[in-house]
Subunit: 710 residues, 2 copies
């Protein structure tokens, strides 16, 4: 790892902090910063630096950082940008090795600012100093405690969610919003322009924080794709990471030589990277923090079967719908559970899932029924719905439920319907760290994320299996020869060369021979083994079938002769002027299914493999999925499971099951090839013909684009 985290220690547990640019003027940000640090109750030494000197918050103001006594290991700099490099130099000479640059006016303002930023970086590199920022609002730790932001009070309540952000404004909003939503933050890290420390660097120190239970990330990009994946994967095994990745639509369309290239794009790369890293992706800010509370406070469910407990039908139906829409199921109760519920509830209550206790439900019925549901081995988690009860108090129900929930080993999530009338219940649940949401839909979404997290934790995490029978040297030589051959037209590899590369990685291909006459066709047919397919080969006839230029399943020399003649006859009838190269002879594969497999090199995350439905439709139907390459076996299976093309391989209607195993192996091998040779900018096997179970899969057509940049 490039940045050993020990250099980051002064940021996360400083012994002494100096504020360069502390101000006594209450309208200045330098005042807010000083106030927040003092009021945060930070236990280390606090120093203020300002050439004006004097005194503030009962502490002396030093004119220069050189004058500041020990202990001191962190500077927070908030002075006009042009003065920052000099201040940084003073800090470095004072022996400081960590600084937070809160000042704006750097790269975000144009080339002049960018030059200032470079100057800061070069000073830092010269002295082995680490920098957070510039153009950030600093760091906040509610447990240490430490507050180096300049935001107006109050800061966030202490909690267990860490927030790491590329945007300072979002930090300010989240601090305020968290308070209203009733959850606290453990840490907040505003990264600003990331001249040095980036989002990946702070993952390890944050996951090590004992008060942090969930990491939330607001990302505009990642600094280094593969390093992020590695660090985030390491982190997410210990604690969940949720990311809101913005800038989804800014990438625009790229010109691509293949379907794979056209379909890849930044979003699919992020999707594949996050999946490998175990990063849960939120679509909206609210979703991110909805999920964070559930992940921080609930045990993981053992499956996706959930129970719903309600005192009214409508919210129960809404909840059942929302659970299914979020990929969860309604649990089927054991007979034992039915019996217990029947004893607790009136005869007209619904004992099926959702359990509707009716409007007359008492506080005791809520608590006892919840206990019964939790005890049912078929139930993996429970959503309890509390509509504002006509005559009863939601607060009393909350008080009765809380001890039951706290002793449960299963997640219980509350849907509290209403607003003013349920405030007491809301406060009880929040104080008890039980996630509550205003409507069943949000509660269902939180339960689904808990299930996703639980599944991630038990996912097969074996590394990508690398085949040793491949011939790396052969591909290397073929590519060197291609690159060195000045007669190569463009950067698309000839078909036979591409087929040879596949052969070197043991991806089965289907050779093609070009016959000039019927005798040659019969000879090739014999070599390739019967049955064979004949196809017209003419640059003027793109749609071979349409002119009767394809003959399938020719099983002997007589049929080949007849077929050859008929093809030429048909082609000449259809297009008398067409230039005809000859007739292609290919072994005819038994019936099978056609799929597409491809790979591209993503600028951010490197090799990226694709699987899905092929043919002309591939770009329109988008039945494709992506994984980082080389891929793990689990990822290969996921690509198959998450596309219709992959599901269909298991058989569909009249279609018999196809050789899914062979496709899985080819995916792994092509992924390995893409990982080994970044200069193979795009590869696409389309179609890959998948035969029936046990009979393999064959690359019928392949397309590769070379780019020496790779």
């Amino acid at each position: 790892m490039a940045s050993p985290p020990h250099t980051l220690i002064p940021f996360f547990s400083p012994k002494g902090v100096a504020i360069i640019g502390a101000s006594r003027d209450p309208v200045k940000l330098g005042y807010g910063l000083a106030r927040n640090l003092v009021e945060s109750n930070y236990q280390g030494a606090i120093y203020f630096v300002n050439p004006k000197g004097g005194e503030m918050f009962n502490r002396p103001v030093y004119a220069y950082v050189q004058e500041v006594p020990n202990p001191l290991d962190l500077a927070v700099i908030l002075i006009p940008a042009p003065a920052v490099p000099d201040a940084l130099l003073q800090c470095a000479r004072r022996g400081l090795r960590a600084a937070i640059l809160c000042s704006g006016g750097f790269r975000e303002t144009g080339p002049k600012g960018a030059a200032l930023e470079e100057e800061c970086l070069s000073i830092a590199q010269r002295y082995g100093m680490r920098l957070i920022g510039p153009n950030c609002i600093g760091l906040l730790d509610t447990h240490l405690p430490l507050d180096t932001t300049f935001l107006p009070p109050p800061g966030p309540p202490p909690g267990d969610v860490a927030f790491i952000s590329h945007s300072g404004a979002i930090c300010a909003a989240v601090i305020d919003w968290a308070r209203g939503q009733g959850f606290g933050l453990s840490r907040l890290i505003s990264l600003g322009n990331q001249v040095d420390v980036c989002e990946t660097d702070v993952l390890a120190p944050t996951v090590a924080d004992p008060f942090t239970r969930v990491l939330t990330l607001y990302l505009e990009s990642v600094s280094n794709g593969r390093r992020f994946v590695e660090e985030a994967n390491h982190t997410s095994f210990q604690k969940p990471i949720i990311a809101l990745k913005v800038g989804r639509f800014s990438s625009g369309q790229r010109a691509a030589a293949s379907h794979t290239g056209a379909l890849a794009g930044q979003e699919n790369a992020y999707h594949a990277a996050f999946r490998r890293a175990g990063v849960i992706r939120a679509e909206t800010s609210e979703e991110m923090f909805d999920w964070a509370r559930a992940l921080a406070w609930c045990p993981p469910p053992k499956g996706r079967a959930m129970a719903v407990l309600t005192n009214a039908g409508g919210p129960g139906v809404t909840a059942a719908d929302a659970l299914e829409a979020n990929g969860l199921q309604l649990a089927t109760f054991t007979p034992e559970t039915h019996k217990k519920l029947a004893k607790l509830l009136p005869p007209v209550a619904s004992l099926q899932n959702p359990v509707d206790m009716l409007a007359s439900a008492t506080v005791e019925q809520y608590a006892e029924c919840l206990r019964v549901l939790i005890e049912d081995p078929n139930v993996n988690g429970v959503m309890v719905i509390l509509p504002p009860p006509p005559m009863d108090s939601a607060g009393a129900v909350a008080r009765a439920l809380i001890p039951v929930i706290h002793t449960a080993q299963k997640p219980v999530i509350i849907a509290l319907m209403g607003d003013r009338m349920i405030q007491e219940a809301v406060e009880h649940f929040r104080a008890s760290h039980i996630p509550e949401y205003r409507f069943p839909e949000r509660a269902a979404s939180a339960l689904a994320i808990l299930a996703e997290r639980a599944e991630f934790l038990v996912r097969d995490q074996s590394p990508p299996p690398l085949f040793e029978d491949i011939n790396h040297q052969a591909v290397q030589s073929l590519l060197e020869r291609f690159a060195g051959d000045s007669s190569s037209l463009g950067n698309v590899l000839p078909q036979d060369l591409a087929m040879q590369i596949l052969d070197a990685y043991h991806i089965p291909t289907l050779p093609i021979r070009l016959a000039k006459n019927a005798e040659e066709a019969i000879k090739f047919a014999h070599e390739l083994t019967y049955p064979v397919v004949l196809k017209i080969d003419s640059p003027d006839i793109p749609h071979k079938s349409d002119v009767g230029g394809v003959m399938l399943n020719l099983t002997d020399a007589g049929a080949v002769k007849q077929g050859f003649d008929l093809i030429l006859h048909n082609a000449k009838q259809a297009q008398p002027q067409a230039y005809i190269n000859g007739v292609q002879v290919q072994h005819m594969l038994p019936p099978g299914q056609e799929t597409i497999i491809g790979a591209v090199q993503d600028a951010q995350f490197g090799a990226l493999a694709m699987f899905g439905s092929g043919g002309l439709e591939v770009e329109g139907l988008r039945d494709v999925a992506f994984a980082l390459a080389p891929m793990t076996q689990e990822e290969a299976i996921h690509l198959l499971d998450s596309t219709w093309a992959g599901k269909r391989l298991e058989g569909f209607r009249n279609l018999p099951p196809a050789d899914r195993q062979a496709v899985e192996t080819i995916l792994l091998r092509l992924g390995q090839l893409a990982g080994d040779f970044p200069q193979l900018a795009e590869m696409e096997i389309n179609p890959l013909r998948v035969l029936e179970e046990g009979q393999g899969a064959y690359a019928v057509d392949v397309r590769m684009r070379y780019d020496q940049k790779g």
Copy 2:
């Protein structure tokens, strides 16, 4: 229309209301009901009825409804279910023609309750009485005012959103939640078991309410599909309707004879019905009311190009993302706008869209920049983002923005980031009826709904064009003959019969002849015109191509002879034991695109037509769309525009544009056929071969299922 709304007048503007079951015991619901009616400040006469007599709320309690004086035209009944029929009878005899049955204990509790409910209905029918309920929480009108619910106070604040609900509990939740979210209700109608008055009945009286600007519906189903569509369509031209339809996943899988049947299902029918009706469908409760506020308070945008005004980069990126994710675009400003913004903002501010005024943005800059953006002719609407400003007050910004927004003819929506620090701004915006949301994502979703609504209002609303050249009688006779023919096996129509039905509706078909020998094949080929296709016809050979059993593009008698022999040769090689009917001869169409067109009879909404990608993949890829049949031309175009199969018809890569016009006509004709003959339970043309522009489209294969129930 079955129920002329004048019979509903007593519900919505009663002259006098009697509460049957009023109670002096404060823990009883009959007390809450009396209290709410009195405290609602209802201006008509209020009467209490209870056999115990006495006095409450300074009014006499009548022992029997017969004793209640005039004016009286509405009864609200809240007594135990078994006593309701008798009370209803008393009301009827007293001359009442409208009653709200709040009591529970009816159909929702089982057969005994259902019988009681039937008894109520028969009394009502005998006396020409209208009923709301039973098992509901009644009616509420904040402007009349009138409150016949028994819910604990406070009721909802007066507002402009009407809420019509199949669930009483959801009503209670929404009343309370609306208050917290800062919007009011005009009316609330809890429909309960709908023994008489249903959701469709109350649309017309609600849209007529001058205080209602938006109708919101919580639906578990609709009572009569086509009547709902008609009434809702009529309503939604006047005022927007948003519906949350639950029970999406309860329908289960139906056994179907065709792809169309398997794909149809309740959800697609609702989707098609809501689209025709102009009903906006919300996925979650929060979404419904988020949208309701925007629709109630904002003018419709003239297009989908939006501007974003922010004082920080991160929220701006989030907003831009969210706009695109919701199908909106970032407006491109005029040079004039750039010039004006440049004068107002510092040089490093971003004058592109999103406009980032930087953290230093003043109250005046917010107001002036917003004014500039609204004036830009390229801007259809604006999202203003207010993160909690470090040192400034969001309240002051709100006060400055409000007059600018109020004079704008374009929608302006506020994303207020944070919680406690923005409360003052929240209150200002709510009081001024300007929609504000906590994050840019929800604000973007609201802007998108405004655009959708604006597009609905200008949508071509011509009725389904009905072709007069069709031969209705021919189809009638064919179906009668089929139904009467005891030798008909099952209910699937023979292919030739199905083709004749299509012919009668002028849907072009491609006839097939079965040749027993080469001479016959040549004769048929001549009749059908060259070129032709030959296909093996054998029950034992389902995959004709795979055995070399298909010969395409045969252009003369010689080729047909050669092809016929080769097919038989191949078939015998492949499956020596196969029983062979002969060889099918069909005219060979020029190259084209293949699509699927189908229709089913939906239990709820009647005839439903489908269009999309055909072939074996149709069920897996689900590239299909549905419309009510017969469909309007606008709907036919929408089916083409909303599927990949339809977009592809305009040409894609090497694929030339196909005859979209022909497909549109066939869709309309098939829709008319499905509408004319409900006994055609399922129809499917798969494939419909679409030739190049101007050359038409042909049903190559068709499947029809007959069901006399239809």
